[in-house]
């Protein structure tokens, strides 16, 4: 314990060195803006700015990239709330309640909630990181394909309640997302699948962002245009010191949610291959399932913003753990960070903690500091972000369309994906008008590849024996939890009906 305190102290001192402090500041700011652009997320920011870091010492470099990672995580919420377009898969769940809040003129409250929840999530997880890094690394090693698949089942179980009230249409939407996830090259058999019209571009598959920006950017905008007859009037928000203080006083409402979401996010984030997206979805799903008023979710419940934001920030810290201790990335962003570390001549792995304590503890120290810097920057910038909403629709609409195009192109470098985005957006709009829920498809395309791959890996490994999922303790636990989560809403319904029946006889 004393050891950790000494090392952490040294790490914090290192984070406060002028160069490192500057790196934190610039990284957070750059990340915030990159994350706030629809389409661009932490992956792009880190990948694009990686070469810049060859000019500074490794510790400063990783601090810069980690700060950028954080900033982008916060920034993702900004685009989800103000524009209704998730900047990255990690911010999808933030749209569910963030967008309605903005439409009700509570954008500043939603942004404050996102910032505070992210801060709490980041801080709780960095504390957990400091205390439990080595034992958690050992646990992560136990996570094979079976456990990954069980975790995916658990993730699907947590957001079973996210769909609309039309059951066949919800099922269709989930399945459509899962099938779209299978387009492209199958790594298990090495065969191309569903390459429509022999477009070689489809061999890469349909990216999550292409679908999400198509549906939330293009489709949602068309839908808004139609329903408001062009009179898009979102209550203009004036952000003042007074409203800021009032927003902060709401923190108590979502504090328990945030704390739970943080712990969950950190834990899921540490598991290799899972990352922040399932973490934020699970956090949202669980919060909704166990809330006193599940029906208010999706209509602007502030807990629905806090829960996923706490979890995704916590998970981004968590995903650093397998990267540093095992040299395997827990998210696409850490995959690039890992590449960076190797280039700087640092070899992530079990020995890094003992070989280069200056580096590891400098990074951990900077995580504490970066959390403070981002929350401060973010809160300070809220008045600027909410001004976006005050723009007339004849300016905001074309700008959003342009950003959708440039954003998609910038992430994949192909016009093919831009056209695909347009097509999917139109399809999403037409379906949404007939009450087909779109969120399940977006979630399914993120989790689909992981679920299919881990399922098939497990079965190859067990030579076709399905019992393999129930013979391993961690996987069995996840499966049982998933079962409980699926039964719980039904049980709740039955109980409510019974309660209704008894009160009726009185």
């Amino acid at each position: 314990m004393l050891d950790i305190a000494t090392l952490l102290g040294a790490g914090l001192l290192q984070a406060f060195e002028p160069l490192n402090l500057m790196m934190i500041f610039v990284g957070c700011l750059a990340g915030l803006f990159i994350g706030a652009m629809p389409g661009l997320g932490s992956v792009n920011g880190v990948a694009i700015l990686l070469p810049v870091t060859f000019l500074v010492p490794p510790t400063a470099a990783i601090i810069f990239l980690a700060a950028l990672y954080y900033g982008a995580m916060y920034g993702g919420a900004v685009s989800s709330i103000t524009l209704g377009i998730p900047g990255a898969s990690t911010a999808v769940a933030t749209v569910f309640d963030g967008r309605p809040m903005a439409q009700q003129g509570k954008a500043d409250q939603a942004l404050t909630a996102a910032a505070v929840a992210s801060f709490i999530g980041g801080t709780i997880s960095v504390v957990l990181f400091t205390l439990f890094a080595p034992p958690l690394a050992v646990f992560a090693l136990k996570f094979g394909p079976q456990e990954e698949f069980a975790l995916m089942v658990l993730a699907f179980a947590t957001f079973i309640g996210l769909g609309g009230d039309d059951i066949p249409k919800t099922i269709f939407s989930i399945l459509l997302g899962l099938v779209m996830a299978a387009v492209g090259f199958d790594i298990i058999s090495g065969q191309p699948r569903m390459i429509f019209f022999d477009f070689v571009e489809l061999q890469r598959g349909i990216g999550f962002l292409v679908l999400a920006i198509g549906i939330y950017g293009i489709g949602e905008m068309l839908w808004t245009l139609e329903n408001t007859k062009g009179e898009v009037r979102i209550h203009a928000v004036s952000s003042t010191w007074k409203s800021f203080k009032k927003n902060l006083s709401h923190v108590r409402e979502y504090l328990p949610t945030t704390a739970l979401g943080s712990a969950l996010g950190f834990f899921v984030g540490t598991l290799p291959a899972a990352g922040a997206t399932p973490a934020s979805l699970m956090s949202y799903g669980l919060t909704k399932t166990f809330a006193k008023d599940p029906d208010s979710f999706g209509k602007g419940n502030v807990s629905g913003v806090a829960a996923p934001e706490a979890a995704n920030n916590a998970a981004s810290t968590g995903s650093m753990l397998p990267m540093i201790t095992l040299g395997i990335p827990g998210s696409p962003t850490t995959a690039i960070l890992l590449g960076g570390m190797i280039i700087w001549g640092l070899r992530p792995g079990p020995l890094l903690f003992t070989d280069r304590p200056d580096f590891v503890w400098g990074l951990i120290g900077s995580m504490y500091v970066a959390n403070f810097v981002t929350v401060a920057l973010n809160l300070a910038l809220i008045p600027i972000f909410v001004r976006v909403l005050a723009m007339p629709f004849t300016i905001l609409t074309p700008i959003i369309f342009i950003l959708c195009f440039v954003g998609v192109f910038a992430t994949t470098d192909r016009m093919f994906d831009v056209w695909l985005m347009l097509l999917l957006g139109l399809g999403g709009y037409l379906m949404r008008k007939l009450n087909y829920p779109v969120a399940p498809a977006v979630l399914a395309i993120v989790l689909g590849p992981l679920a299919e791959r881990s399922l098939r890996q497990s079965l190859i490994s067990s030579r076709g024996d399905v019992m393999t999922f129930f013979e391993r303790p961690i996987s069995l636990t996840c499966m049982l939890l998933a079962l409980a989560l699926m039964i719980y809403p039904i049980w709740l319904n039955v109980r409510r009906r019974r309660a209704g029946a008894t009160s009726g006889t009185e």
């Binding site: 070469p51 492209g184 061999q203 598959g205 990335p329 590449g339 960076g340 001549g345 470098d413 190859i460």
Partner: protein
């Protein structure tokens, strides 16, 4: 209208001044640095390192922009390069799927011997790894005995059917007359982790993927599939020494699209030669267990590619495309 006029005028000016500029060719726009694999893998790391060095040393008047085109084991990247024929502002970082993908996917319509060879930056090597806890396995013979004993319960991890390590696994199955269960994972790092977590029994990882675990004493190499023992692993025998005729490398070369102009080829070859000779690159080679003695370029690299294509054709015919693509 005025804007258009300016544009046309400037286009004209460029056309007129072009012959003068050709004396010493420099890129006029950012260079697309295509990577035929996803972010975070070996090829990606190398490309991003090279890009950083180009920027740091100011070797190019325009930046190199790394672009990942991982679709279909590199099929997407190969097709893209083929369609860019004659373009002077695109180069590609390749690995062995450069050879195998056009053979397996015949209808792709790509002939890599038509591509413009620029420079062979490094050769990556393969070793056979098992967990240190497998005390019963100390050398190749005990390994083969253990695999034969386990039969299809022996699980080998790799980066995907049709990838280099699946070719090598198929070669081993043919050489030792056993059959294993091959489980694909996304990326060599994940394979390495699954070996340490004992989800799989053995792998044929590159040194860079296992080095951290090896140094921590979690995994041990049994055989190296090189011509001679590498400096980093002096005590590990090569397959040849043990009388097994398997030698397999992963090439990491830079190539341009077909029909690149001679001036551009000269520029890129010089640029990558400078990078190859730099202390940073040579250090990276040593720390990552890459073999980098002398950069192959021009005609030498072209004939290297031609011989590799032939060798891979033979290999795939020998082990059967089915053994590599699975199912």
């Amino acid at each position: 209208m005025k804007y258009l006029k300016t544009l046309l005028a400037s286009a004209l000016a460029l056309a007129v001044s072009a012959p003068v500029a050709m004396a010493e060719w420099q890129p006029r726009k950012p260079v697309e640095f295509i990577i035929m694999a996803g972010t975070g893998g070996g090829a990606d790391q190398i490309a991003r390192l090279l890009q950083g060095l180009i920027e740091q040393k100011g070797l190019s008047s325009r930046p190199f922009i790394p672009i990942n085109k991982p679709g279909g084991s590199g099929a997407e990247a190969l097709r893209y390069m083929q369609d860019k024929a004659g373009d002077d502002h695109t180069v590609m970082m390749t690995l062995n799927s450069f050879y195998t993908t056009p053979i397996i996917q015949e209808d792709l319509g790509v002939d890599v011997t038509q591509f413009t060879p620029i420079g062979l930056m490094a050769m990556d090597t393969f070793l056979l790894w098992v967990h240190t806890d497998r005390e019963d396995i100390t050398d190749l013979d005990s390994y083969v005995a253990a695999v034969k004993g386990a039969g299809l319960d022996w699980k080998v991890g790799g980066t995907g059917s049709g990838q280099e390590d699946s070719v090598l696994t198929a070669m081993m199955e043919a050489a030792f007359d056993y059959e294993v269960t091959y489980i694909p994972f996304p990326g060599g790092g994940t394979v390495a982790k699954n070996l340490i977590g004992k989800q799989i029994d053995s792998t044929v990882n590159n040194p860079s993927e296992q080095l951290a675990f090896y140094e921590a004493g979690d995994s041990k190499p049994l055989v190296q599939f090189t011509g001679e023992r590498m400096a980093a692993f002096p005590d590990v025998p090569t397959a040849r020494e043990l009388g097994v005729d398997i030698e397999y490398y992963m090439q990491r070369s830079v190539n341009g699209p077909p029909g690149m102009s001679a001036e551009a080829v000269e520029f890129y070859t010089d640029l990558f030669q400078t990078l190859f000779d730099s202390a940073e690159w040579q250090e990276f080679c040593v720390s990552d267990g890459l073999t980098c003695d002398g950069m192959l370029k021009g005609g030498d690299l072209a004939s290297f590619h031609a011989s590799q294509v032939e060798a891979h054709k033979k290999l795939i015919a020998q082990v059967g495309a089915g053994a590599i693509t699975g199912e």
